[in-house]
Symmetry: D2
Subunit: 302 residues, 4 copies
Amino acid sequence: MTVKHQVKAILREPDMHLENRARLLVKCPDQPGIVAVLSSFLFNYNANIIESSQYSSDPENGTFFIRIEFHCDNLQEKSTKMEEEFTYIANDYGMEAKFCYLTKRERTAIFVSKELHCLQELLWEWQNGDIETDIAVVISNHEDARAIVESFNIPFHYIPAHKEIRQQVEQQQIRLIEAYDVDLLILARYMQILTPEFVNHFKNRIINIHHSFLPAFIGANPYERAHTRGVKLIGATSHYVTNDLDEGPIIEQDVERVDHRDTVAHLKKIGRQIERRVLTKAVKWHLENRIIVEGNKTIVFH
Amino acid sequence: MTVKHQVKAILREPDMHLENRARLLVKCPDQPGIVAVLSSFLFNYNANIIESSQYSSDPENGTFFIRIEFHCDNLQEKSTKMEEEFTYIANDYGMEAKFCYLTKRERTAIFVSKELHCLQELLWEWQNGDIETDIAVVISNHEDARAIVESFNIPFHYIPAHKEIRQQVEQQQIRLIEAYDVDLLILARYMQILTPEFVNHFKNRIINIHHSFLPAFIGANPYERAHTRGVKLIGATSHYVTNDLDEGPIIEQDVERVDHRDTVAHLKKIGRQIERRVLTKAVKWHLENRIIVEGNKTIVFH
Amino acid sequence: MTVKHQVKAILREPDMHLENRARLLVKCPDQPGIVAVLSSFLFNYNANIIESSQYSSDPENGTFFIRIEFHCDNLQEKSTKMEEEFTYIANDYGMEAKFCYLTKRERTAIFVSKELHCLQELLWEWQNGDIETDIAVVISNHEDARAIVESFNIPFHYIPAHKEIRQQVEQQQIRLIEAYDVDLLILARYMQILTPEFVNHFKNRIINIHHSFLPAFIGANPYERAHTRGVKLIGATSHYVTNDLDEGPIIEQDVERVDHRDTVAHLKKIGRQIERRVLTKAVKWHLENRIIVEGNKTIVFH
Amino acid sequence: MTVKHQVKAILREPDMHLENRARLLVKCPDQPGIVAVLSSFLFNYNANIIESSQYSSDPENGTFFIRIEFHCDNLQEKSTKMEEEFTYIANDYGMEAKFCYLTKRERTAIFVSKELHCLQELLWEWQNGDIETDIAVVISNHEDARAIVESFNIPFHYIPAHKEIRQQVEQQQIRLIEAYDVDLLILARYMQILTPEFVNHFKNRIINIHHSFLPAFIGANPYERAHTRGVKLIGATSHYVTNDLDEGPIIEQDVERVDHRDTVAHLKKIGRQIERRVLTKAVKWHLENRIIVEGNKTIVFH
């Protein structure tokens, strides 16, 4: 049996134990009684709260956020009525709310260029069953990733890209994204700038990995600049993409220690380890509905 | 103005903004509806939930734990009625519950021997207003700590101790602890074994710092043994004291990197930094009612 | 082009720039003048010291260790004479010494069972050119790793193993190790006990990864036991294998934070990340001749 | 006995075992033979090398740096001749060199404003004998530190400062620094800008702690800006002061994890712990002659 077939067998079946699980995400003006109303609503459906995390920006006149994961027998039959009935509560309390069902996995497209370490880590963790997604397609402006991607039986599309043809390229990409019915875009070291139109099209749905500890070293060549500055730690940052370069809401960051002996090549090597784990964490949390974007910041319910 | 007077002025006044704040800790068999009943109860008193953390050991037939911090106008007038009324809910759901009021700070006794770094860190953080307690008394089997303790205007009691007179010593200590109305005992590198009677007297109320990454190097001379074993990280562990030496419920642990060049003296020096921060965190969390002991483990709601 | 061919093309050619590079490792009784005699010796060959690290167990009557990496034009022609001449110095100073040439890469055999994450990380880093070795063979008591190993064009041998047939199995393994001319054995989560004969045969040449922070949780099921004990950090340890189970010289250790919510399955998942990086570091350092084993401890020259 | 007297007794005597210890720091163009010539020179004085660390910016045409710590009997009698003789070698190889004797401790002045945590950590570590210096004087633009400083029997000078009188203030400060014969200035959260004249006067002799992970958040209010940006780690950086604000050679940096719940006040509290340890490490390394400034970067020999 080849690697391909193993992967296929292990990964493509959604976990049937999850059919009665869902997550409710709510954002609303803070006031007494919100938890009472939400938990009573769920109790009326005989749902059991598995995990609940909340945050209030300010107890007085702040905004309240909550993520509740619950189990509910026969959820698939009840869900339509549940969501309908919930609209009344949502109206009363000025809530933005979303129900996420664990059997309805988000579909992702991974964008990559020539550096493959972030892609490989994602594929690996996905293969282990540790990322809740269907990887629908990988898109690249180079051919380097084709072999590894196709060995996982995932469609690979090569779309050459450069500054002059940016708009045509993005139109091709959008057609693919739509054809593959993609929810989330992951820029796994995709080294092309995106146009504002493209970014606006996928608001809070594009996750990038930047190879520095933002806001230090925004833009090109962060390792070279880190080396020139003589920093003693280097880092990586995953964030949602906005139209301010490297200024989008930060999801996760991490660092490693370096010293005067480390050349730029060493920094890149060390950095690859940080990039791998930081991007993978951010993607997992997004897919587990743990992230709420508020202004230019994220609330991450671990 | 001397250090003493500064300290006195800064620290002894409870924060009046906290008079309407409390925490409710609950443990009970898990079942649907618990959060609904608790949050509705609080809503009936017009209390606003500031922070809420919960944990279920197992969604099916597990034990449910929750810590709710809330604000409630005129809490001091309402609290008696609130607690009375809560007993009905507690009975219905088989709850163990506790209301903790932020104006009623726990009183602590610090036990110390000749190594003063943990004591100093605690005094310092307390002086900064970062530990919610009244330090009622420091008790030591040596005189080394007297000057620093008295400079903070805290009573210091010297009670010489050795194996042969352990019981008399502990009786003296218990008399002091009762006289000072102490809730929590902190062993800040107190190098005497306690008798089972003493430990049982203060169940889950004695926090110790052990100078190793438990369960490695239980017992005496952990740094010497870490050096002999050639470990590449050394650690410290804070835990509640039970009658199994260094086997009580772990609250917090941390480590630092060491290498072959580090002598035992270096390990002790590095270890002091770890011990300071690990013990201080454990003490803070205990006093903020963030810790629930369950079996021989802790649930810590950060 | 398939993944296989890429790998082959990228990896199998030794770096020609390294033909004039070597490392000299020396251990001897400490006394004044050792560095002078070694550096003068190298200077007489017009060698340039690239990197030098030393350690003395004790300035008085201690043992002195040094690792010198140097560049020397026409090293391959000079090396025989160099080594011969060095024997005089070695005799005078009571030195154990070893010259390691960067063009003569050590050959490794990786042993693995059903858990493949450590194997995969090693293959990956090796494919990136970040591990100085030729992976000669992978040996397993299960078939799980075959597809991935063969996709790298590396020979894979399946040798079923259990307690009763341990000696026959090991004889088969030794024949393979000799046939493939292997220098270093890497136990990348190989879940079989080795006999004393086997271990003695490869003294300081077997590197294991143990899935705990040694000396905590020696032996079987460390994650289960870590969960039961309620530790707040879990770890992994790479060490040379000796005939005391999990008691061999420690090369590297690392930890990650966990909390009360983490089940055994979570600990294993988190642990896999630690195991991957800890084993890979240890293997790299061994192959870069950075490790000297002294008694039951290691000196690691980073 | 008061704290004051204890401190005096414990700390002011230099360690007599150190009278035969020195450090030699050398910088020169790289070429074969440098280590040979230096180690032979020391061996001729029968000196024993205790610790040696070197770095070459590039094996070809680079710059070579070395720090050698050695023991030499009767060093005090030999040192003049040693240094004289060394000038011949220094000339031959184009070396900048410095001999540092462990009995001649550098004298420090600590500058502080209202935040006392860095000062306290320095005093504490110094009291433990862990910082090789004589703290000659503490200078502040506020009275807040007086009590704690004087309790250590260290002279405290209050010099009010603001923008308009900067030059007069600095002249007063320079007079004090000269009167106290100070070698190193430590800005332990001293919140005043220094003039170029002042900075040039003490080149590579002023160590600052900046409360961010540089080059992120240069300038004022870094914690506020970190909060606004929504970073997931906050840091602190110690560096030598130059006339580019927060752009001087970085000595040490560290970070701690934060999350969306942390207010600016929390960030400051967490940051204080980072600042304490980062500044203390930088100061220790400077005083142990472990730092060489090269261009705008530091080489730190750990």
